[in-house]
């Protein structure tokens, strides 16, 4: 930002007001956790294993070969897929096609502003997205070609990456890219003994911090976020991504919970694709 000389600039050393405010998501974490999980129900009156209502639509970007819009509560994701094209700057012949994935948060999608350049988290998410999709796509069907997948998160209210994977799967299918299976993904947050499916942004931040088991006692609770994407008819996990600090048992349980959660989304994905096709058929007939 250009410096304005006519303005009186603030002092050189400043502290953010958020350090002292209660709205800081990281202050009073312990109390918040107790409040939220007090009655074994979440503030949204959801069950711990309950996902939010999903809205899914494909063919939303008219210029793209395939596209999808995915919405859960305030998490809104748009994915567009563009034609296979020759891999730019390729050096040697590759027998398998490439997926080029870009994951981007819109600048206004999070509490703090996101820049236009991809930051480390977005790059990481792009890589995860790529790995998750690669095992779902029949890459040998388009050797030496690349399919571009662009993901834009319009608003982030938690579980954005799993939403992106599911939506990208739909967009790829709609684009007519050969695929082995439908791909769906889900997120699980863990805080202490609570395992919550499809966490929203607040729950996600709470799951990212370690808190003491009891006040005064120097022992931390387990916590973490797990994202799992699944090819459901083949029963194959195409990507498992975890952060935090969890025991093997918790992860085993989480894999089971998430497999179920991903399966719940499959009918929705199928219906969305079928609806799109039948709708197009109808308009074709009318034409």
């Amino acid at each position: 930002m250009p410096n304005d000389n006519r303005r009186i600039n603030g002092p050189e050393n400043t502290l953010s007001y958020r350090l002292f405010s209660n709205s800081n998501p990281h202050s009073n974490v312990q109390k918040k956790i107790k409040d939220i999980f007090k009655n074994n129900t979440r503030p949204s009156e959801r069950n711990f294993s309950e996902q939010r209502k999903i809205f899914l639509k494909c063919g939303v970007v008219s210029q793209a070969k395939g596209s999808a819009y995915f919405e859960v509560d305030n998490t809104k994701v748009i994915v567009s897929v563009y034609d296979p094209r020759e891999i730019p700057k390729k050096t040697d012949y590759s027998l398998k096609g490439e997926l080029y994935c870009v994951f981007k948060f819109a600048p206004f999608s999070c509490p703090t502003r996101r820049g236009y350049q991809q930051d480390a988290e977005e790059k990481q998410n792009s890589a995860i997205l790529k790995r998750a999709l690669e095992s779902a796509v029949c890459r040998h069907k388009f050797p030496n070609f690349q399919v571009d997948v662009y993901v834009l998160v319009l608003e982030n209210d938690g579980s954005a990456l799993s939403a992106a994977i599911t939506a990208a799967g739909v967009a790829l299918a709609q684009a007519g890219i050969p695929m082995y299976d439908t791909i769906t993904a889900a997120t699980l947050g863990v805080q202490g003994s609570h395992k919550i499916v499809d966490p929203n942004l607040e729950e996600e931040t709470l799951c990212n911090v370690a808190v003491y088991k009891n006040e005064g006692e120097k022992k931390y609770e387990s916590h973490g976020i797990i994202i799992l994407s699944m090819l459901s008819t083949h029963e194959q996990v195409s990507e498992l991504y975890q952060t935090g600090n969890l025991s093997l048992d918790t992860i085993n349980a989480a894999i089971n919970i998430l497999s179920k959660a991903t399966k719940e989304i499959v009918p929705l994905v199928e219906k969305c694709l079928v609806n799109h096709v039948t709708k197009n058929l109808k308009t074709d007939v009318e034409d």
Binding site: P11, P25, A120, R131, V209, S222, G224, E235, L240
Partner: protein
């Protein structure tokens, strides 16, 4: 260079037989070589060689301002440089993707307070803290990078010493630090619970640890786990394959066992009193 089908078949059958090309079992590691404190200008450093993989890690320390989200914690930053010395493929921006993957996995692995406690690095809440800058240099690549890097990072942090802060004075908004003048008056970091990363590759129907470059080519899928005291701090699947949930759980179990074993072996070596004779790197 890619292998031919017959070589892959040979490796595959070998894994099935639990007798790999170099005679190892599926869950066996290759011998490693470690040297610590070899960079004079670093606060802690280590070099690890695992077969053909050579990693140099150095830790530098700076005074910084804590983030707003964690005002009472210090910072740790990882930076991976895939030197073109390792392979010509890394020339220019070639190694960037790999570097980013390793960097992010390390950041995630060290993120949890339970795995690596940063609160000791805080000097004055919200104002001043130490920032550990962990620079990782890949000198040679011979497969199994994640494991080698995490071991070298832990070894470097083990020897890292932070200058002792004698007093903190608040002068208006300026913070003045008085650091002990004695060079050896330092605080050692507690890294006993720092995570170790293990790559488990699925070759055929079996899970294999410490794959050689050739074996990496035969793997249908691979999982990287970071383990801190038998608990997972990060998991990611690398490569383009997928796994059945049961196989996944099986490989996670194996990974956690191997990690705790690696951890014991590493700490055992680190506790050995190392002599004064510097060896240096790259053979």
């Amino acid at each position: 260079m890619s292998l031919c089908e017959a070589e892959k078949t040979f490796i595959l059958h070998g894994v099935e037989e639990n007798f790999r090309n170099d005679g190892r079992e599926r869950s066996q590691y290759r011998p490693m070589e470690l040297e610590t404190n070899i960079v004079a200008h670093a606060f802690g450093s280590a070099r690890l060689r695992l077969a053909n993989t050579d990693v140099l890690v150095a830790v530098k320390i700076e005074v910084d301002v804590p983030t707003i989200d964690q005002p009472s914690e210090g910072k740790i930053e990882f930076f991976v440089d895939c030197s073109a010395n390792a392979t010509p493929d890394f020339e220019g921006r070639g190694g960037e993707d790999l570097a980013m993957e390793i960097m992010n996995s390390l950041t995630n692995a060290y993120k949890s307070t339970k795995a690596f406690n940063l609160s000791k690095l805080c000097i004055l809440k919200g104002r001043k803290c130490w920032k550990l800058m962990v620079d990782i240099l890949l000198l040679e690549c011979g497969g199994n990078l994640y494991d080698a890097v995490s071991l070298a990072v832990k070894a470097a942090l083990w020897h890292t010493e932070i200058p002792r802060v004698l007093s903190v004075n608040l002068d208006g908004n300026n913070v003045e630090l008085e650091v002990s003048e004695k060079i050896h008056d330092c605080i050692k970091l507690d890294v006993t619970s720092a995570p170790i990363m293990v790559t488990i590759s699925k070759i055929g129907e079996h899970c294999v640890v410490d794959p050689s470059s050739a074996e990496e080519q035969c793997a249908t899928a691979a999982v990287v786990v970071a383990i801190s005291q038998n608990r997972f701090t990060t998991i990611l699947q690398t490569g383009s394959g997928s796994l059945h949930p049961n196989t996944l759980i099986e490989s996670l179990t194996l990974g956690s066992q191997i990690a705790s074993q690696l951890d014991t072996a590493l700490i055992e070596v680190l506790q050995q009193k190392s002599g004064e004779k510097p060896i240096g790197f790259l053979l």
